[in-house]
Symmetry: C2
Subunit: 478 residues, 2 copies
């Protein structure tokens, strides 16, 4: 039997909750008096359905049933979970909790998405104060795992955390009631410092955004403030940073070179806590983990041509432009194996071979005139068939080279044979059969004249070259 | 002819500079009186050589020459770039600049990695003050693109920025001299707020780190503070956040529900600046870009089993555990196509087909008893050969299913045939030939008894099933 969640308020945050519950198989009942609520929620759901299921490599449970309710009582009645995400006005929240508790099950979890109200403020005047807990997520709720939880210790809180984990989230149980959760306090401090800089004409919004996403923001996607610091400077570095910042806790803004002041004995606390945590790995191991994480993030963004990834792509293009014109044997790739291309066997993963060969095919196409402009104009080659032989292993950071032979280039058909080497060592071969298509009709059509001619010329030139062993082989045959 | 960089001080930051210059083809001369400098630098270089070249898909220039110098004058003489990264003491920096300028070329760039000193403080008493500029990077310098630059406007500053770009970096020119660069001011504000929470017992270092890396840190790897806010709440959301935070600029710490105060007319400035920037894309487009970026970051971290990626992996395993036992046709994969698996042709990239088929092979191996524990004990199957036929296209978010047939399982040999479907539509087939190996000797050996028996049993059971079309095919043959 499906579990039921009631969503009270379905704006950006409530809509994100709706999407996460629904896609994790819960039935969701929405109450939101906004006449536009249904349309706005549909937009969030479209985004979530595109993004969330592809996060993992197995099937999600069947999507739950979504219903809209004009009466709050109908929405919450019998629900296992009630999530309140109404605007941040305490009076409003109090009225909503009264209405919820009038009709919901006494053992239902009532979660509040509040960013800033404390538990005791929220539950003031409630029928069953212990039933209300802070369950504060991070936008977009359907993708980011963080959810900060604060409530009365007991079975309800434990059950709430277990349910949040089953939604793929990371419940962070808060140890003290504070205005603003941990994440929001940090965010607020950044907001204030950012606004001071804008007020003083020191920086614009886009410069501040770039200072984040081109630098420490990349680091923080995988390790936080303290672990990053420890990895960079070890125990001494953490102590130094703590002392420097500890001097100015009472100041709204302070530079790293503030005059000395009381460090509040914090230095030891921080060093002990962060040492105990990071102590599970050596600093060198952590550096390698950090670097592999950063490589995978940066390469991922490069594929999207966004942010730091767009910087990388421009750099790659500048470097590619100085590569000499390829001659026979035509070199279509010369590169290092990225840190994140290895698998549990310790060598380059089989799919990455095809990624490297696919890049080599793209380079061949480019040389033949089938470049970004040609593709933008509506034509391309699609791979129809591929045969890969794995001859030898290769590890991360190795420099690999691909040599390409055009076996055939006639009409819409193109037949390529790639060989991958590390120095003189053959690592793999790939035989590709491609068809030229119209991107509009998705049908096979002949290439435009310049491309057709160039491929025919390349095939003719390559016909004179020696044929490597392994062409035309079927799997398992010699 | 190679360009020459002189690195003065080769600790964490200077070492990172050394690595970036060297791997980008510059000759690098290092001066650092620390007797351990050479050993420490070797560690940084090992990490950088593993990580940096794999960031891009083309060859890096040949590595430059590295030399150590006991005399600062020798190191800087004739260099194109001198980078100072000595400890943050103004007296020391002044002495170092005097020594540098005594021997360096007058047209060389002298960059200071200082985190907190302003340009005028730095260049006080210098022989040629205009030659010194702030060039403040982000750790690890060999991976992160951000570098904040401040100097006297003119050809030297322009040349410095162009050279930094040619190193693959993102020079952010500061518009005002401030103690602490933009990034460091933001970081310092987070440090202070984090230390206040630790002091008050509200959170530990690891809780603060988790609040970052499980939440907004993931967002900030690709969009900063203002763009993230605008996407979540539109223009109104940005105004609201600015007003809330703008009330408490003079306070060291403030919750989102602070009492109203003067907003300094900031709201309009922020709304205009952030609107102009993000206005290039619609909010909906930006949401899709953000989600695709987050999916690629989260999936990258999942492959590394780290941070938010480890949360995803646990969730995936919990979901996988409830999947019914596979029967004939054996279903080895049932999943959605991730948002970041499509390419410039708008459909799933060819390498991702092999990734999906590879995952299906892993699942088959698991069913046959070749699971994580078996692999950890030193045995696995390596793919020797693969033949893929692309039959039809598939788009992001589509749900795909793979059915697997064991054609043969004898001794060390395993022969599989996968078919990929979207509902009843055949998308692709993959024929794999695998060999069982010892992970210690990397040689072909027979599987251990339980695995050998299970594969033989599966092959025998599958022998009775109908053979799909396309087995044993060579590329380009019918």
């Amino acid at each position: 039997m499906s579990r039921v969640a009631a969503i009270i308020g379905s704006g950006v945050i409530g809509g994100g909750w709706t999407a996460r519950f629904l896609l994790m198989g819960w039935d969701v009942r929405v109450f939101d008096p906004d006449p536009e609520a249904e349309r706005k929620l549909a937009e969030v759901l479209t985004n979530a359905r595109a993004a969330l299921p592809g996060l993992i490599d197995v099937a999600m449970p069947p999507e739950g049933r979504l219903s809209f309710h004009t009466c709050l009582g109908d929405a919450v009645s019998g629900a296992d979970w009630v999530q309140e995400s109404v605007p941040e006005h305490l009076d409003l929240k109090h009225r909503v909790f009264v209405a919820i508790q009038a009709d919901c099950r006494p053992d239902a979890v009532i979660g509040s998405s509040t960013a800033g109200f404390g538990l005791s403020q929220l539950s003031q005047g409630a029928l069953r104060p212990g039933q209300i807990i802070v369950v504060h997520p991070c936008n977009p709720v359907y993708l980011l795992p963080l959810v900060e939880v604060a409530g009365t210790e007991g079975p309800l809180l434990d059950r709430a955390c277990a349910l949040l984990s089953s939604l793929g989230m990371y419940p962070l149980r808060l140890r003290a009631e504070t205005d603003g959760r941990i994440a929001d306090r940090l965010l607020q401090s950044v907001w204030r410092e950012a606004l001071r800089m804008i007020r003083d004409g020191v920086a614009t919004t886009s410069e501040i955004d770039d200072a984040i996403r081109m630098g420490f923001g990349l680091r923080w996607a995988q390790m936080g403030l303290f672990e990053s610091c420890r990895i960079a400077g070890g125990d001494a570095g953490t102590r130094l940073c703590t002392e420097q910042s500890g001097r100015s806790l009472s100041q709204p803004s302070g530079g790293p070179n503030d005059a000395p002041g009381p460090a509040d004995g914090l230095t030891n606390t921080v060093a002990e806590q962060s040492g105990a945590l990071s102590g599970l790995h050596s600093i060198r191991e952590l550096q390698r983990i950090r670097d592999t994480n950063l490589v995978t993030i940066l390469r991922g963004l490069k594929a999207q041509n966004w942010g730091a990834g767009a910087v990388l792509r421009r750099h790659e293009q500048a470097l590619a432009a100085v590569v000499a014109k390829p001659e026979a044997p035509m070199i279509t790739s010369d590169r290092a194996v990225p840190l994140d291309w290895t698998d549990y066997n310790g060598h380059m993963n089989e799919a990455r071979y095809l990624q490297a060969f696919g890049d080599a095919t793209d380079r061949f196409m480019e040389i033949a005139g089938c470049d970004a402009a040609y593709i933008a104009a509506g034509h391309s080659f699609f791979t129809a068939e591929t045969h890969i032989r794995h001859v030898d292993e290769v590890k991360a950071a190795a420099r690999i080279r691909i040599e390409t032979l055009c076996l055939r280039g006639e009409g819409a058909k193109m037949h390529l044979f790639h060989q991958m080497f590390e120095a003189d060592r053959l690592l793999a071969t790939a035989e590709h059969f491609l068809l030229h298509v119209s991107l509009e009709t998705r049908r096979v059509v002949r290439p435009r004249p310049p491309v057709a001619d160039r491929i025919a010329a390349l095939a003719a030139a390559h016909a004179a070259l020696p044929r490597p062993e392994g062409i035309g082989r079927a799997v398992g045959r010699r």
